[in-house]
Assembly symmetry: C2
Homo-oligomer: 354 residues x 2
């Protein structure tokens, strides 16, 4: 790999290579194949280093005798406020959760705000207060920040970037690469609520019981899980691209197959109904307060019990297994006895979800 | 202070209070009084905590026996590529320099990219390679990242956020609050080049010798300075708002006055000419590779010599003193024997400079 020259686009041979897209399309931000192409063929070769290589939700750095987790996410969700949350809670929970997915307890966040000229100061103040409240509730401090303003028409109200640092407890080794055949796949609750909450607002759908985003911090749930089962192999929060994208990434990173039992996957009736109405598959819809845990089979019952004992995991369920067959592929056994491939989504099912 | 309710806008009594601005204006991003209002009256009360309180360029966190510096900046510069640099170098140098301004040696950066639909992939690849090259040259790794895409017309090509972590060596205590009467003010080189490089492109100005941005990493220069003079009181890189804003912030934070000798401030002839042409004061023009160092008078000669021995500081100069008089005010002795107040800029002299 030549790390000093510009990428040789002509040589890219990946499926759906970047050279098929001379310009950035919305799908490059969707958390699916197009995003993976950008990361694999552009960012990783350019920035290559040992900490970046595992492509976990957070990088792990050795610092003195400790392991520091470091992660970042930008938030560009529309609308800024939606049922069950806002960009403010997402900006705190999303980065806290990325840290939690390597087993870290969060220590501090940064906040980089890109404001668009014309944003009402009262709305900004409201969102900053919500961000502060979410940070307090999660027990994490926002310790440094930056504010930029772009001209009217060159931004979109408010974009927030947060980066976070946390400490990984000794003995905890969680990574997408650590999934092993025989592991059990657990999900911490019902899926698809965040994405459908956004979608219902954008599409103007009204349901008897409104769908609320599941946005929530997950580090407490992870701590409870690790206390019961320190040998968790893999954690992932299924945000953009949903459970389908998260499990495909794990299957690829670990070189394993994943088999889902579709009927075991918890989906609330209103989410299922909304998905059916809009022709969406809940497996591809974003979550902001759920995690997938891959644990050795002998520890699965203890792990599930630990998740269910925590308020953020009461609806946890066992939804599948890791297998040696079909490495890199996720398949689902359907309710009627069939099997389907749950492919990595190509691009964007619903842009600007987070 | 009530930290759970929304800010009571009616109660704000600061000069130029936020309540005079029901909407965000460009000046809120200018690094001057309006930015300070946002930070002081909105972000700090909401997020308040001990690490944020000093409002240094980076927060300092105790972690085990070590002190970790943590900082973030978003970059929204226009144009993306300008004489002497690009958004890519700024995104690396700016955050490395924020870490350096508390005396830290940078360890790792995050990169959060907000791409606009339609951005040429080739341009993105070029800028990512430049970012990687700048990081390699600075000896810092980009270890974690995130990519979002916003619809055409809702972004501006590319915004980059970087956050950075670094280690503060034992015994180093650098903060705006530590400036003391009797300290000497040093600048590491000629001022105003970054801002005028941007301005010359935007205004279509042609000079015999083009003005190049001074963008550069400063942690090596800081390490050389601290090796010679560990008792540096204050460091600041005069970016948005220039030397004027940086020194005003220090004067306010430390409750001291600052007296500049205008004729001692190094300004290259082409920068002086361009500033005169456009009616700008170089003291207010942004720099991206310069630092201000406030050191005790007995150490000033050693500090200046250490700066000048380093390639990034060959044109370092002694430009003023810290005084007990006029706390919070910066004044300049002009060439013709007069004295003028160098006020904190109100808003934005040149939007989207970094």
């Amino acid at each position: 790999m030549n790390d000093s020259a510009a990428p040789d686009v002509a040589g890219w041979t990946c499926p759906l290579p970047l050279r098929d897209y001379p310009q950035i399309v919305l799908g490059h931000g969707g958390g699916g194949q197009l995003t993976a192409d950008l990361v694999t063929h552009l960012f990783v070769p350019a920035f290559h280093n040992a900490a970046l290589a595992p492509l976990a939700d957070a990088a792990a750095l050795h610092l003195g005798g400790q392991r520091l987790a470091f992660s970042t996410d930008s938030y560009v969700v529309r609308p800024l406020i939606f049922p069950g949350g806002s960009i403010a809670e997402l900006a705190v929970h999303g980065t806290v959760n990325d840290l939690a997915m390597v087993g870290a307890q969060p220590l501090a966040l940064s906040a980089g705000m890109i404001l668009e000229e014309g944003l009402p100061v009262g709305l900004l103040a409201h969102l900053v207060e919500r961000m502060a409240a979410a940070a307090r509730a999660a027990g994490v401090s926002i310790v440094t920040g930056d504010t930029k303003v772009v001209e009217r028409g060159h931004g979109d109200g408010l974009y927030i970037n947060t980066a976070g640092i946390g400490l990984i407890p000794p003995g905890i080794e969680i990574a997408p690469q650590h999934a092993r055949p025989g592991d059990v796949v657990l999900v911490s609750g019902s899926i698809g609520e965040h994405g459908m909450a956004i979608m219902s607002v954008r599409e103007g759908l009204a349901f008897e019981s409104p769908i609320l985003s599941d946005t929530a911090p997950l580090h407490g749930l992870v701590a409870a899980l690790l206390a019961a089962v320190p040998d968790v192999h893999t954690l992932r929060d299924p945000t953009r691209g949903g459970v389908a994208a998260a499990l495909n990434e794990i299957a690829t990173a670990a070189g394993v197959g994943i088999r889902l039992e579709e009927q075991q996957i918890p989906v609330r009736p209103e989410v299922a109904a909304a998905c059916e109405l809009l022709g969406l598959d809940p497996l591809y819809v974003a979550n902001e307060g759920r995690l997938l845990a891959l644990v050795p089979a002998p520890a699965a019952a203890a792990a599930l019990a630990a998740l269910r004992r925590h308020p953020a995991g009461v609806h946890a369920a066992r939804i599948g297994d890791v297998v040696a067959q079909h490495p890199g592929l996720v398949v689902a056994h359907t309710g009627i006895g069939g099997t389907r491939v749950v492919a990595l989504p190509h691009g964007e099912q619903l842009p600007r979800i987070c």
